[in-house]
Symmetry: none
Subunit: 236 residues, 2 copies
DNA sequence: CAGTGGTCTAGACCACTGT
DNA sequence: CAGTGGTCTAGACCACTGC
């Protein structure tokens, strides 16, 4: 009957993790059919609805694809779309032969509730907030406004970021397992305009990115760039 | 009982649509609490699980936010959208359940030398130029400024683009084999501002893309979007 | 036809919020 | 404490696929 998993992670999430592991371990590969809902339900002692939720979510996350009447399949190759690179801005600048430098404007614990929720933390659960300006040949080129999940990166608050960008620090501790991003154009709010020494009215190219580690949001970062000094580019 | 809606659109989707309409009509505004699941279930004659599914999906789509123990609220923020995929804007709009339309502003042969060179054509070699505005629910959302290699797409100049976007037409003839793109933020030049009915000073999110077929540039397109109405997004 | 996913119900227990 | 969302069940009927 009711074998509720009081392990705090819900059953559908555990099933999702299991599927991801099977794919990760290449027991299931792109195009493979995976067991039908009913079978998974039996194996895991769940109702079909719970299995169905796990499957549906993995479809929205483009891990699986389903065809009604035939089955559920591991989605084909990981894309593409954009390599809005997980690459560090420092590397990017240095690879152009320019000089990279940075300035830490702010690094503190935050109690911003909305952000704490985004990070999937309890209301008091440690969340950190940092702001750093990145310079190319002493010209400010990016303002990094970052929030960090303190459970994933407990040492974040003690970093100086003199020899390492947050991006590099975090990649070393827990590599990203999933990234969502949005790109927008915005007029610069005052704190951005000042930090980047921008002209009034100059638009910003804004890259907002959320990175997941083991299913939870590990960091949420908003990267502000003066339109005149930065563009994204890519190829596929 | 079982009052299944055989209206082909599932109940949870109808409820989602209803919520979106309430927000659209500004009956519910950013930050407002919306009725609890149980009440919605009664009003719509649905089980709570079905209501819950609709709400959960709207949360993933960032339309709503929920706080356990307190309620469900309209998300403050703005609009969703897309990815830098080769996907057609028409599909993208339709998949959001919105109405797509377009208007052809210009379609002619061009003798723009720089562009002819970019397309790898001889100085007289056929190059075409088109401009189309794409609308979502009659709101202009993208100005497509496109140049086309006439050797790759000889029939381009004779299209009406009434039932097919240039993108769809070209994909049918010769699928892209390579794509380069740049994303920038720009203040809108006059012709863009007029075509998209933008406010003066509003920035544009500009996506510039070159597509290659058999090594040569088949098409060069600049997509202008009002910053307030469009953002790119994606995941990997 | 059997197998599969798509949707839905009518309950249930739990965790958390706010008073 | 009552109100709210988070999760789960054990069925059910349907639509579609492929044999």
């Amino acid at each position: 009957m009711n074998t509720k998993s009081h392990t705090s992670t819900p059953a559908y999430q555990q099933l999702k993790d299991h599927v991801l592991q099977m794919i990760e371990a290449e027991h299931w590969r792109g195009g493979d059919m995976i067991p039908p809902e009913e079978q998974l339900a039996k194996e895991f002692g769940l109702s079909r609805m719970t299995v169905n939720r796990a499957m549906r979510e993995l479809v929205t996350e483009r891990v699986l694809m389903r065809i009604r009447g035939s089955g559920t399949f591991v989605a084909d190759t990981r894309y593409q779309s954009t390599l809005i690179e997980v690459r560090s801005i420092a590397d990017e600048i240095k690879s152009r032969g320019d000089t990279y430098s940075s300035k830490l404007l702010l690094l503190q614990r935050t109690d911003d509730i909305a952000m704490i929720q985004t990070l999937g933390l309890p209301p008091d659960g440690p969340a950190y907030h940092s702001r750093i300006v990145h310079f190319e040949n002493d010209v400010p080129i990016q303002l990094e406004d970052r929030h960090v999940n303190g459970l994933v990166f407990p040492g974040y608050i003690n970093q100086s970021f003199e020899n390492e960008t947050p991006n590099e620090y975090m990649t070393g501790i827990a590599p990203a397992q999933g990234v969502e991003y949005w790109v927008t154009a915005r007029q610069a709010p005052a704190f951005v305009r000042q930090a980047l020494k921008m002209a009034i009215g100059e638009p910003c190219l804004v890259l907002h990115r959320r990175t997941r580690v083991r299913g939870t949001v590990a960091t949420d970062v908003v990267l502000w760039h003066p339109a005149s000094r930065y563009q994204l580019s890519g190829k596929f």
